[in-house]
């Protein structure tokens, strides 16, 4: 049991939790947070697995660094879009199609 293995396990749990949040939560901001959790879990897996097996791997480090920057930009863009959506419609969640809850 190394600390890297701990990161890997935490990453797997974050992936599961993030996926559940994405699917089950309706509020758009919370869904965005859950999506980021899922992404962080993937990053932890990508960095933790090589670190546990044979020391840190610069290739996956670079991959994760690229991923983090894209994730930050995408999150900011999603926030702007959610904000705009709220101001146009007054909703905080997407309509489900079955039930019109407004």
């Amino acid at each position: 049991m190394t600390s890297a293995l701990l990161y890997v396990l935490a990453g797997a749990l974050l992936c599961g939790g993030g996926l559940a949040g994405c699917l089950l939560v309706r509020h758009l901001l919370r869904r965005l947070l859950a999506f980021n959790l899922l992404g962080s879990g993937v990053f932890l897996l990508l960095v933790g697995l090589p670190a546990h097996r044979h020391g840190s791997d610069p290739v996956t480090h670079a991959l994760v660094l690229t991923g983090i920057v894209v994730a930050v930009a995408a999150t900011a863009l999603a926030l702007v879009l959610i904000r705009r959506y709220f101001h146009l419609t007054g909703r905080v969640s997407l309509p489900t199609g079955r039930q019109e809850d407004r």
Partner: protein, 234 residues
Amino acid sequence: MIERARQALLGAACLLFTVCLLWAVRHLVALPAEQQALSVLLSRWLPDSGVSHPVTAVLLNFRSYDTLLEIGVLVIAGMVGISLARTSALEDPAMRSADPLLHALLRLFLPLLVLLAGWLLWAGSSRPGGAFQAGALLAAAGVLGRLAGLPMAFLRPGTLLRAGLVLGFSVFLLIALLGALDGRAFLAYPPGLAGALILVIEAGLSLSIGMILLALFVSAPVAPEEDADGGPPA
């Protein structure tokens, strides 16, 4: 009722996914460590990459295509964010703080942040650091200045903003194309110049990334008058 059943089913599926993932992790961890072809290749070619830090070498030399596309994604995100914002939001007086403590701290922090960003940019060639960390620091300096209400005319839609947004991407693309026109591959650096070109690209990337993140931050708040006409009923 159907809604509850659907949610329970989704929750069970997520649980199953997590268990499968943990099982796969356990399986991967138990595998014997094999010869790491990628790491061996990387350490063999590292001296030719122009930088001595392996992560920077991967980002800006061996897999620079990824980085080029990444800054492209960032530019698009920044443009969409700006196009969704109202121009008046840039001058939102509610965002301004008259806190004297913030102003005093800002006088101390702004030069320090800019200096640190420059150092990170320079350090990226030999140790952890690089364009993205430097760009994030520049953006943080911009956010602090914005919160304190410093005049930031360059964030208004105009030539300066456009130039700042695409600077990193265009410098990167230009160097990549010059390599192709010169008879080498797309994105291949001329031998001996790789280190200097990587520094030039990284400087452009830092400025653009800082600008894009700051522009996205600025375009998030909505001016109060927008509540009056197009906002939702309270």
